[in-house]
């Protein structure tokens, strides 16, 4: 399967990266990691690119590319997915509120409603 992983710079993104790398190692999927531009997030786009590259290299996935996407995160990710031959788009599956409620943000909603592929939410 050809998988596109879309990440911001949150802790949720780091978890999603780790889980997707585990899955990729297990089944040998093709994988492209796309880092979106979310200025408000904890890690900058450059930091997240570097972290993704290092995590892939450590897992022996040196040949899986990391791309930087400019512009509005949701539409940039959907555009990118439309231009490639991807079977699945993977994104983070929501954060937990103090109460324990699962919260899906506006980027997640945009991607779910607009992506041309199957979308996987990682919890």
């Amino acid at each position: 399967m050809n998988v596109l992983l879309g990440l911001g710079g949150s802790d949720e993104s780091v978890k999603t990266l780790r889980r997707t790398i585990e899955r990729t190692t297990d089944v040998g999927d093709d994988l492209t990691v796309a880092i979106v531009d979310k200025p408000e997030s904890k890690r900058s786009q450059d930091e997240m690119c570097q972290q993704a590259r290092e995590a892939l290299d450590e897992a022996g996935l040196e040949d899986r590319p990391v791309e930087k996407l400019e512009g509005d995160p949701g539409s940039a990710l959907v555009d990118y997915a439309e231009q490639g031959e991807y079977d699945q788009l993977v994104i983070g599956g929501g954060t937990l509120s103090p109460m324990g409620k699962i919260q899906l943000g506006p980027i997640t909603e945009f991607v779910l409603l607009n992506a041309p592929t199957t979308v996987k939410l990682v919890r």
Partner: protein, 191 residues
């Protein structure tokens, strides 16, 4: 997260505070009381209520199902939460709570300094009897008494009855909206 939300300009209230007993629309006596923390059997009453809760009425993953997950959830949020319980014949039939939005609840010195997340659940057989409104008002009245000023919640965007209930007591929609609508209310510290 803290400090980023939009609150109404004017405070809402005053709200009634527990303890109180009301008669619901089905003429059932409903006792409303504040529960300091989940000690001395209060947790057991609420666990029983959530065990009887219809999973179809869950919202955004809560309440969880199964006794161990329900206990784990209540214990995780329980220690620093503010709870008001509605009971009929000694059994909990409704529960409303506030959970502090902070990474370090032990550092809370002043309840007004932090934002509190609200959730409310009423057992199916007791819905549409006016209990939710009374429970919500009494939670907010109790919150104002203990110095809480800022309360927020999220509600699924298509849940119009719940949104109407929250608006009736003074919640206003904040800018944040995706699958969930975020709403906030400002309480008057004078009650």
């Amino acid at each position: 997260m803290s400090g980023s939300r939009q609150y109404p300009d004017d405070p809402s209230g005053p709200f009634p505070a527990p303890p109180t007993t009301i008669e619901d629309r089905e003429d059932r006596p409903i006792e409303i009381r504040a529960v300091g923390s989940f000690a001395e059997g209060a947790l057991e009453d609420v666990v029983e209520m959530y065990l009887a809760f219809d999973p179809a009425d869950r919202a955004q993953g809560i309440p969880p199902t199964g006794e161990s997950r329900i206990r784990n959830w209540l214990e995780t949020i329980g220690e620093d939460s503010v709870n008001v319980v509605a009971s009929h014949d000694g059994d909990a039939v409704g529960h409303a709570m506030l959970v502090p939005d902070t990474d370090d609840p032990s550092a809370i010195e002043n309840n007004a300094e932090i934002e509190w997340e609200l959730a409310i659940f009423v057992l199916q057989a007791y819905q549409q009897a006016g209990i939710g409104t009374v429970l919500l008002e009494n939670l907010l009245g109790h919150a104002a008494e203990i110095g809480i000023e800022r309360v927020w919640l999220t509600v699924e965007r298509w849940n119009n009855p719940a949104i109407a209930l929250y608006e009736r007591v003074g919640f206003e929609s904040t800018g944040t909206e995706s699958f969930e609508q975020e709403m906030a209310i400002l309480l008057d510290p004078e009650g």
